[in-house]
């Protein structure tokens, strides 16, 4: 029972991390706040995050 609860909790935490990463504007790129998705796009294009 404890193991199943741990599995459910972990899965929920990781889903929450994905949702937060995709929606929260946390990174500053060229004076603009972007989400993780935007930040990854900049990383892939070789632009520095700040």
């Amino acid at each position: 029972m404890v193991r199943i609860a741990a599995k459910i909790l972990l899965s929920v935490i990781f889903i929450a991390m994905i949702v937060a990463g995709a929606t929260l504007r946390r990174h500053n790129v060229s004076g603009k706040k972007v989400t993780d998705v935007g930040a990854i796009a900049e990383i892939v294009n070789g632009i520095c995050l700040s």
Binding site: K7, I18, V19, A20, D36, I40, A41, S50
Partner: protein, 284 residues
């Protein structure tokens, strides 16, 4: 439909399909999504972003890479190191190299813990400390996957002087290839990069998946997050005859009868699909 299900059930087919899908070049708008496998986003053909590359870059600005960690964690929580065994292109390559005729050796067990050190030091600690865009000690600076998938095609493209990277890769003459090697041999980490790639590729002919077992920081993350994964391998003690046939088919040289579901198990399910004894079975 049944034929398709059977085709998808074959691990090698899935590995080849994912290799092609991750490097299909035409869907590059998907590069904002991390794929849970070692596939360098600097590769000219790459479609997705490498989660380790993203983590290194985000560590340089002291940001928690929520999306990358979440994707890796969710895959690990679902099926442990399933992605290592089924979709990682570099794992597939090492398995192919291991088929070459060469003396076969086993990896010292202590090296299993090296990948955790690589993850902690070169993916998080060093980028957090230096906070520069590039540094020779960052994992991406010497990652053998990056050297193979990005440094070589990029060097070829530079040598081709105007040729598109893909065309350069396909059409490079020996002279152009030498120029490419020269073009990419400039830099503080050149010997480390080329040497490590050579060591990994050569040792892959003698040791089963050496990079995955001793170096891969993504595998270390999968092992950490996959501790309580939904998919687990269980040993049926009544059916297991301890014949060790499963050790022969295991692509990471484990003894599944005693180590199934351990942090080193890549959940390839070969010990279940290749053997008919029923001693090991996946359970959810």
């Amino acid at each position: 439909m049944r034929a398709m299900v059977r085709w998808l059930g074959r691990r090698r087919n899935v590995q080849i399909a994912s290799l092609l899908a991750m490097n299909s070049f035409f869907l590059q708008s998907l590069r904002v999504v991390c794929v849970p496998a070692m596939n360098c986003y600097m590769c000219p053909l790459s479609v997705f972003a490498c989660p380790i590359g993203v983590m290194v870059q985000m560590s340089t600005v002291v940001a928690v890479p929520l999306l990358a960690l979440g994707i890796v964690g969710l895959v690990a929580a679902g099926a442990g190191r399933f992605a290592c065994g089924w979709i990682c292109p570099f794992g597939l390559m090492q398995e192919w190299i291991y088929k070459l005729r060469a003396p076969k050796l086993s990896l010292p067990k202590a090296l299993r813990f090296a990948r955790y050190a690589v993850l902690a030091v070169f993916v998080f600690a060093v980028p957090l400390y230096y906070q520069a865009k590039e540094h020779p000690l960052y994992f991406c600076s010497w990652c053998p996957v990056g050297t193979l998938e990005a440094a070589i095609p990029d060097g070829l493209a530079k040598a081709g002087m105007g040729l598109k990277p893909v065309a350069a890769f396909l059409n490079a003459s020996p002279a152009q290839f030498r120029m490419a090697v020269d073009a990419f041999s400039v830099g503080p980490m050149m010997w480390v990069k080329w040497g490590l790639l050579a060591v990994v590729l050569l040792s892959a002919a003698m040791v089963k998946r050496p990079f995955c077992r001793a170096i891969c920081p993504l595998g270390a993350l999968f092992s950490l997050f996959g501790r309580f994964s939904w998919l687990q391998l269980k040993v049926n003690r009544e059916r297991c005859r301890a014949c060790n046939a499963c050790k022969k088919v295991c692509p990471v040289d484990l003894e599944p009868s005693t180590e199934a579901g351990s942090a080193e198990c890549i959940t390839c399910l070969d010990c279940w699909t290749e053997l008919k004894c029923g001693g090991i079975k996946p359970s959810v």
